[in-house]
């Protein structure tokens, strides 16, 4: 006898295949609308952690990119400030060359040139970006350059006055200044006076900046020095030149001594400008590093997105084809069920 098919299995075979098809139908519908696997965790299994690491890396790169744009703003602010310092220095130099030593009004012109230049240097040195003093090194919470012209005599000014008094025995404003020879003045300027603008004197009287610059992560595992500080030689040389003019330019000096001051100040300002160029170049190369890192991260992001897509995304056309064939299959199953119900001997036997 041929193997029989029991009526029970005949009925249930179609049932389970219909249930399976309906299950698949909901899954495929979800996949068709979202473009992703309906249950990613179940689909990826062991690869879930890998997929998650790609997503995590994407998030990390995105936040680094945002952070880098902030860093670039800081760097650009610092460079703009240095640019304006250099312009001020060039202007000061121009006015110095126009002054003839010993001429009438030369003293007051020298003094006002020095005072104005020093004031704008202080203003530029204390610029902020996002509330941070960009020339403060890592000590960004405090204005890096002390106000030389503050109402209560600043420490820097007291130190210069005291040094002058000690060397010559009278104040710079005294009429006795006319007796200072140019060689005396030169040795004061290059000795006692110059020492006030370097080392501990500079950091205690002029600068609150930290000599440690800010180090920032600009890409995963890559960090860069992304700021500068007021303790760089360029700032010291400019301050020295300007202060010299502001303090001694107005003194009643002999014309040769006045010429010695002009020469010394011009030379310092020139040195300052060239030192500033070096500092700016350092900032510029830091900015290039940050921009390069951002560009390379943006490339990585594209690759990451592609990889995530490869793991997560379903083939849309394949899903559409599957959906079609599945609905055809379901309809066939319904028709078959109806046909099978009719195919019973009971339908044909006389009652």
């Amino acid at each position: 006898m041929a193997s029989i098919v029991s009526t029970y299995s005949l009925g249930t075979a179609m049932l389970s295949s219909m249930a399976q098809a309906q299950n698949q139908l909901t899954q495929l519908t979800a996949e068709a609308s979202s473009g992703q696997y309906a249950d990613l965790g179940l689909q990826l299994g062991d690869q879930s952690g890998y997929e998650l690491s790609l997503r995590n890396q994407t998030n990390l790169l995105q936040s680094l990119t945002t952070a880098n744009s902030l860093t670039v703003t800081n760097l650009e602010t610092a460079q703009a400030a240095i640019d304006s310092m250099r312009t001020d220095a060039q202007n000061a130099l121009t006015s110095l060359t126009s002054i003839t030593a010993g001429a009438t009004g030369a003293a007051s012109s020298l003094q006002s040139a020095g005072t104005n230049a020093l004031q704008s240097l202080i203003a530029s040195a204390n610029v902020t970006s996002n509330g941070q003093y960009v020339f403060g090194g890592d000590n960004t919470g405090v204005a890096p350059m002390a106000d030389y012209f503050s109402a209560t005599t600043s420490a820097a000014k007291s130190a210069i006055d005291a040094a002058f008094q000690t060397t010559f025995g009278f104040a710079p404003t005294s009429a006795s200044a006319a007796n200072i020879s140019s060689s005396q003045m030169q040795s004061f300027i290059s000795g006692t006076f110059a020492n006030l603008f370097s080392g501990a004197s500079w950091t205690s009287n002029w600068s609150s900046a930290s000599s440690t610059d800010v180090t920032t992560q600009i890409a995963p595992g890559e960090s860069a020095t992304t700021s500068t500080d007021l303790n760089q030689p360029g700032f010291q040389q400019l301050a020295e030149g300007y202060a010299m003019l502001a303090e001694f330019g107005g003194s009643s000096l002999s014309s040769t001594t006045q010429q010695a001051v002009i020469t010394a100040a011009s030379s310092l300002i020139n040195q300052g400008v060239s030192s500033l160029t070096t500092t700016e170049a350092t900032l510029g190369s830091a900015q290039t590093r940050v921009t390069d890192a951002t560009t390379s991260m943006s490339n990585q992001l594209t690759i990451l997105q592609t990889q995530i897509g490869n793991l997560d995304n379903v083939n849309a056309s394949a899903v559409a084809v599957q959906l079609n064939s599945l609905s055809t299959q379901l309809e066939t199953a319904y028709q078959l069920t109806a046909q099978l119900q009719k195919m019973s001997l009971a339908q044909y036997l006389p009652v």
Binding site: I4, Y8, L42, S48, G49, N56, L60, G141, S210, A346
Partner: protein, 500 residues
Amino acid sequence: MSLSAALNIINSAFVANAGQSAVISSNISNAGTKNYAREIANLITTSGGGVQVASVGREANAALLEQVNTSTSQAAYQQALSDGLSTLAQTVSDSSSVTSSSGAAANGNSPSAMLANLQSALETYDASPSSTSAAQGVVTAASDLTQSLNSGAAAVQSVRETADSGMTSAVNTVNSLLTQFTSVNATIVSGTATGADISSAEDTRDSILTQLSQQVGISTVANPDGSTSIYTDSGVTLFQGGTARTVSFTPTATYTDGATGNAVMVDGVPITGSSSPMAIQSGALAGLANLRDVVAPEYGAQLDQIANGLISAFAESDQTGGTAPTLPGLFTFSGATGVPSTAATTGLASEIEVNANVDPSQGGNVNLLRDGGIADPTNSAYTYNTTGAASYTGRIAQLISATTSTQTFSAAAGLGTSSSLSDYANSSVSWLQGQNQAASNQLDYQNSLVSQATTASSNATGVNLDTEMTNMLTIENSYTTTAKLLTTVSAMFTSLLNAV
């Protein structure tokens, strides 16, 4: 031979016809009953030439039934495992990953995704170290991470509790089925001895065995007296010699970290757990026990390792070269007196929290993240930012690299002993989803085996209505012919009597 002998034979034919009809009716009415074995009326010729229903046979197939039961056990095992794993997998639900309006992908709330958020927050903080809001962002990300670990650990315990109560009801079902089996078995034994019709009792027996195999994997032995002995798939006796063994289990209502549940006992011998000499391999009980004692605790141990890795990665040490102990920093746990060793981490995932010293909502100071001193704000030995600079990034850079540098983990959690914290967290997600996928695939496979075995068994032993109908027609014809015969014999008797 006489006419009255012919009448006797006709009578026996009517009786046999009725008996056959009864069997066919029974078959037809049970056409839709799962596991019903078709009955057959066995006819024999009597000494006088008549016919008689000698016995009612049953088209049983023990081998196919065994296959149904085995695959049912395997499917139930995988079902229990898969249910628990998909509950756990929901805690790392990257399946629900959505892309936020900013284009950044939200990766569910797995510890791995939360760790990545913390890294991003640290990078942002690194770019603006003097910003309190950036520091607050790090603390918030850290607190999200601890919550993710806390809820993961809670889910592990809740899965274990659910499994434990599932085991309780499985054991109750097994005991009640064994009691039913005892009486059915007695009916079959006495029916076999007296030759009574035991077909329906045998159907009940087979159905009980299938239900039993749902709960625990079994093997059966048919004895000559008609009784059946039941053993677990590991060989422990459940039913023998007409007596059911007692299956006992003491439930544990609440699971805490490191707590172990009780084993299921048969006559005092454990049949689940590592202490069992003969542990069962399949059925819901085995699946639940595996989930409760092996799979869920292993995932819990991985979470504990992640928590421990965090605490040690963010710990603060003496910066002055002195002897102050290394203490938990940003991440700590209640009652912490130091950084735990990798071997003693049980329960850390449920206890890990953000240090109150750095959490503004608990009166802490967020700037300690940049400056150090979270471990003990009153002890300057833990201060990293000795100059007090507002943009000091040394400590932040250390914290960033701490999450990606290689750490040591306990081998007991099954994910290797040496990797970075973020790799370890990712591996943990992979492990869980891998287990989930394997259990789900196994479940699909076993379910299709069950359906195939059931179909095969049903085809071999079940009822086909058309066959029964055809048999019915044969009987009807035979009945009609016998009735015609009776009329004829009756007419012959009448002629004979008239002739007298």
